[in-house]
Amino acid sequence: MDKETTSLLRVESLSIPLPAGLDRTYAVENISYELNAGEILCVVGESGSGKSMTANAIMGLLPSYLKPSGGRIVFRGRDLLAMSEPELERERGRSVAMIFQEPLSALNPLMKVGEQVAEVMLVHGEGDAAARERRVLELLDFVGLPDPASLRHAYPFRLSGGQRQRVMIAMALALEPAMLIADEPTTALDVTTQAQILELIRRIQAAKGMGVMFITHDFGVVADIADRVVVMERGLVVEQGMAADVLNRPQHPYTRRLIAAVPHREDGADRTDAGGETLLEVKQLSKTYRSGGGLFSKARVVKAVDDVSFSLRRGETLGVVGESGSGKSTLGRCLLKLTDVDGGEIRFRGRDIVPLSPGAFRPMRRHVQMIFQDPFSSLNPRQTIGRILTDGPVANGVPLAEAQARARELLGLVGLEPSAFDRYPHEFSGGQRQRVGIARALALDPELLVADESVSALDVSVQAQVLELLQDLQRKLDLAIIFITHDLRVAAQICDRVAVMHRGAIVECGPPAQIFDAPRHAYTRQLIAAIPGLAWNPRQAVV
């Protein structure tokens, strides 16, 4: 096979050193892979694997303090690393285009979207104004945006996340480049939107015959779109090959570990007999947000939680699943009285906590605890782990010495070294911090845990460990857990029952088997259909 004719891009022994003083010397070290015309190559890896770094190196967009120290990036026979800035400028946008993870921040907030799309053509001297305008309309239509004629005059903030990403894609397609680099383009999007964007990328790739380099951390996405896969770990390429091979017959231990950790519904794992007495009963709970409005204009009213009722027994895990804006997090905040409630009842151990004043509720707080989403912002960076774990008990009247002893005990329980007690959060990794967050919640011996997207920010391998820990603790402590997540796969894996939320309301509730296998509500069906890699079962991979 003649590589020079078929390969579009070859990365050869690329190394990019990091500035001194960081935990490793190279961002990427001696990596090589290639991208052929007309294929989708997925570069997959966890955070810090260096997967985005190579993309930036290809585009010549590395920050000034990072300079490749060796290797070549050969694009259509020419080394991009050897090109001057003006030469690169001519290539960017014309023959190589790129889309990014955050579609809002990637668009200039003060420039109309049509203008931003047209600018690609303008700076490359393509067509006259009228031709460019026609092309913009064409492109916006092509990427599936509604009403291109008026949408091109809109500013980015008026568009939804998915629409913005479509604009980015339209921009990338403007000059029909030979190669498209997509850096986690769906990570910030809801699952249904993600499915649409993935579909769009597949479609345009097929239509234009481009080579697409798709960077992601999600094996589900890989399963959906990849022709070939490159797996990266800490700056090194550990495995590459055809998608089917890598997904189903991973060779490298790291790849195997990753695939094993991908959440998936355990067949026949539904626990129908979970739990005992009813601990929590929510009746017709509602919460409305109002914004803006005045004498002349109407306020915007959003029903974040709309007439929600459910109950929860001891030892049971209820999954609350929904997309962003579905009201699932507001529901969690309502249960913890972190926000006011507009109507309904929250009966905890038979007592309605809605009418209680903050002062009256404070003594009850210890029974209902929360595990937060972001392991980086959920721990006070100025306090030691010991302090973080003892603050709660001390506030609830436990003597300090006793609280400290208990804290050390808890550290062991969540799988951390006792020495962690005197250290600060920044000395720990994300997964470890999330363990601290769990320990903090447990320090008060709660009966109910609300976990709000508690594993969403974690890399998949860490996610699996934390989920395991939670399940383990639940069994030991007979906890009731409300598990809020956007990821149906995770909910399916650990929950006894799943409630699907859509625009503030619970549209469907039941055991995972029922939700997955016999969804009754159209929205549930839509949601399930959008799960990336639905057809691929990681549990069947040869691990």
């Binding site: 200039n108 690609v120 509604p146 949408l151």
Partner: protein, 339 residues
């Protein structure tokens, strides 16, 4: 159904703007009222009896004379009643009577206000324009000699007392070089009209403007540079680079507007501070504005004038901020929707 996207015309944005205006006007009125009450109380609770001061200035005065003065200016009334009366009068546009000059305060202020507005407005424009230009230049040429020179200059003027600059400016440009007039707003007795007068005033305006504006120029230079660098690190700049947009165009078309908007906002909030500086500038340059009027009124315990100046200053500052907010809504499309 949800609209395909939030169109600019489909929503109730024009009504929102009305609402915004209405709310801001109420807020502005409230702030001005608050400023007046605050100052009224401050001034009247402070030691220093204006009647005694007036009597002293008149050359003599016995208890009877002081009592007569007190009655004449309503100073014998309880404080709250004085406040209510004052606020009532202010609502009808009556700012009271100057204790010392025996003329209505409004007249006195209106006579002096244009000079200060002229001075502060030109200092504002001067500092903002020059500051932004220098800041952009420094950011564009980051790390070069030009950058270092601009930023060193900015640092120095940021640390130099305004009055000191004024004194030195007079010494150098008026006395030694004899290029610019050291004081006054126009050539007195020359009776210029039309363009000649305009040119004459502009000529007299140069030194005070530059002096008053230099500190703020330094400030805006620093802000603009920092803001430019921050915007240059944002994602959409990377997008633009990925599109193949050359650096100069990125700065011009993408970075500049995004970077300068916050500087403008900050500047509009700071605009009022120029009046404080004007007290010093007007003193050195014999500029017949309200800064000096305020200082004189203060030293003479001419409280109605002092209060009037504060009222007018607050009103002007609040108006400037309001106009800035409205302009901002026009320039930055995001604000409108945010409400």
């Amino acid at each position: 159904m949800r609209p395909p996207f939030r169109s600019a015309t489909a929503g109730n944005e024009p009504l929102k703007t009305l609402d915004f205006l209405f709310q801001r006007l109420i807020k502005a009125a409230f702030v001005v009222l608050g400023v007046v009450i605050l100052n009224f109380l401050l001034i009247h609770l402070a030691p220093g009896d204006p009647a005694a001061v007036m009597a002293g200035e008149a050359g003599a005065g016995d208890e009877k004379f002081i009592a007569q003065l007190r009655a004449q200016f309503g100073l014998d009334q309880p404080l709250w009643w004085q406040l209510v009366t004052y606020l009532g009068n202010v609502l009808t546009g009556d700012l009271g009577f100057s204790y010392r000059n025996n003329v209505p305060v409004a007249e006195l202020i209106m006579e002096r206000l244009p000079a200060t507005l002229l001075l502060t407005a030109s200092a504002f424009l001067f500092s903002l324009l020059l500051g932004v230009v220098l800041g952009v230049l420094a950011a564009y040429k980051r790390g070069t000699l030009a950058d270092s020179l601009i930023m060193t200059g900015a640092l120095i003027f940021y640390a130099t007392p305004l009055f000191w600059v004024a004194l030195m400016a007079v010494l150098v440009f008026s006395i030694h070089l004899d290029w610019l007039p050291p004081f006054d707003m126009e050539s007195i007795g020359a009776d210029y009209t039309g363009w000649a007068r305009f040119a004459d005033i502009a000529y007299h305006l140069i030194l005070p403007t530059v002096t008053l504006g230099l500190f703020f120029t330094a400030l805006y230079t620093r802000l603009t540079r920092a803001s430019m660098l921050e915007v240059m690190s944002l994602d959409f700049v990377k997008t633009a680079r990925a599109k193949g947009v050359p650096k100069a165009r990125i700065i011009r078309r993408h970075v500049l507007r995004n970077a300068v908007l916050p500087v403008f906002t900050f500047a509009s909030i700071q605009a009022g501070q120029l009046v404080g500086g004007a007290v010093l500038t007007e003193t050195v340059f014999a500029w017949p504005g309200i800064g000096r009027l305020m200082f004189d009124a203060l030293l003479q315990r001419d409280y109605p004038v002092l209060l009037g100046v504060f009222l007018v200053t607050a009103a002007v500052v609040v108006t400037v901020n309001l106009v800035a907010d409205l302009l901002y809504r026009i320039v930055d499309p995001r604000i409108e929707a945010a409400g």
